[in-house]
Symmetry: C2
Subunit: 291 residues, 2 copies
DNA sequence: CGATTTATCTGACTAAAGTCAGATATCATG
DNA sequence: CATGATATCTGACTTTAGTCAGATAAATCG
């Protein structure tokens, strides 16, 4: 007789609401009401468009206006008309605002650190938290196009190689593989996409072009904590969209039968198996898709 | 370059605070302000002492008083003086209150169910949520003495047997083992303790007495999601305390070398290895402790 | 250009939550 | 039984959050 899943979810809710009050409430502790602090933090995190902040925090325009005024009176922010549309306003931190924001960040980090310090089995706990955060934050996953040499991209690639090394019978060594040049995965030849979930990289895919009408899909990877959310498909679709933008007519990719879930995905989304088209030692299966 | 643990914790906080607003807010949806609904739910969950509720919800006594009055006016609760101390008051649900509480419970359950339905890989997600909830709710774990035939106890025993079956080379079959009679694990001969975390059983231990000065520790088990919190030690200490209450002078236990972490615990808490004292086919190591 | 739409702001509200200083009744103690 | 401690209640506040109907100014469209 297993435990009731609903009871388990409710227990999680209880545990988290009790604890999170004391956990994410770095908003408190600097003598500023919650709403004001949330706006300041949203601006600090790069949200500058007033409408975007209002939308993000779910605030009424009147309330928003007052909160902004309050922060302005405190000298923490300044608002200027949007350069392209003077009806809209853009808010940005002043010097004092930046320092106040840093103080909030430091508080948040200290709380997170304390939280971790109070717990044993940290890596296991973090993995569970990653999984829950990925599931809960599913709707907020955004695909960002970036240079494959950026940190978040490099993190994903590192994890991808590590996973291949674990899953291939004889391991995996990038230097023996046909590692694409970064320039082939940057516009105009190609692109590199990283899936970001609340600021953390959780997946990637590369579109490697050579300038012609044929390009390759490379380095499709999704973090273990984010599997089952349909992210791989979303990455592939986004890569295909970019390929079409770049006037690419045919996509190809190579893969290995040690990765059956990937092959499954390709077969389910319009790819057909073709003959080997390169001499890379690792792949044993090859696919193609006409756009 | 692994991800920053602090960033991971903060991402979890963000994901959870965003989602939990829409997740545990079964409090809403019945046209009652949050504070009032929280008090009603606390009473429904068995908190009856006004001071206890106030403490649990962190409310000012004046505010609490008004909220109680509001619920009384609605006819959902009644308050009576505490039988042993007429200064204190005890609140309980009326018939209407019980039905209103049930409506909140149904809402909560429906939301939990919806939440689960929105996610794939449910068992994996639930396991991660259990782990997080155990870690976060660590301070709220309570040890309850109960009959080993109660549901929560039986759940723990079932999980215990399943774990032995997984870990012993040749499996585990209770019927071949010396399964203690329930009556030997109930006062006055012995006791059975279950660790409850926010309403869910996550560990147990049995004290099996025979009426004399010697008793046995049996069925020490901690749920995987709750390991590393020091719960096994806490269960053992509680069992020893009860043994002392029952005037037991010597405790014994048998275990198996396939469970090294258990042996480690015994050695670290005053137990010494002794010779085999029974003919049960499963154990291969035996311990004793003088109280 | 004039009419309409859009983004923000202002003023005038309400509701909810929280604070605090007594008031009141009961209990515990010497 | 007087004294002080304790638990709750009451009244008189303040703060925060949120709502809503215009006002204002800039953009967009026919």
């Amino acid at each position: 007789m297993p435990l009731d899943p609903i009871a388990r979810v409710r227990r999680f809710n209880r545990a988290v609401t009790t604890e999170v009050g004391a956990l994410d409430m770095s908003f408190l502790g600097r003598g500023r009401p919650l709403g004001t602090a949330r706006v300041l933090n949203a601006i600090g995190h790069g949200q500058s468009d007033v409408a975007a902040i209002r939308d993000y925090l779910g605030l009424d325009s009147g309330l928003m206006s007052r909160l902004l005024r309050g922060l302005e009176d405190e000298g923490l922010i300044e608002t200027v008309p949007h350069p392209e549309d003077a009806r809209r306003r853009v808010a940005r931190l002043t010097k004092a605002g930046r320092s106040e924001f840093r103080a909030y960040e430091a508080l948040s980090n200290a709380q997170a650190k304390d939280f971790l310090a109070r717990h044993s089995r940290q890596e296991e706990l973090l993995r569970a938290m990653d999984l829950v955060a990925s599931a809960l934050g599913r709707g907020r996953i955004v695909l960002e196009e970036m240079d494959p040499r950026d940190d978040d991209a490099k993190y994903c690639l590192g994890e991808y190689y590590a996973e291949l090394a674990r899953r291939f019978e004889n391991g995996f060594d990038v230097s023996l593989s046909r590692d694409p040049e970064a320039v082939d995965m940057v516009r105009p030849r190609g692109a590199f996409l990283v899936a970001m979930s609340d600021g953390l990289p959780i997946g990637c895919v590369g579109l490697k072009g050579g300038g012609g009408e044929v390009a390759e899909i490379k380095r499709l990877w999704v973090a273990p904590s984010a599997r089952g959310l349909g992210l791989a498909r979303r990455l592939m679709e986004a890569a295909e969209d970019i390929a079409r933008e770049l006037s690419i007519k045919v996509l190809r990719l190579d893969t290995n039968s040690a990765l059956p879930e990937a092959q499954q995905l390709y077969r389910n989304s319009g790819w057909t198996e073709i003959a080997r088209f390169n001499d890379d030692p690792y792949p044993d299966t090859f696919f193609e898709k006409h756009l």
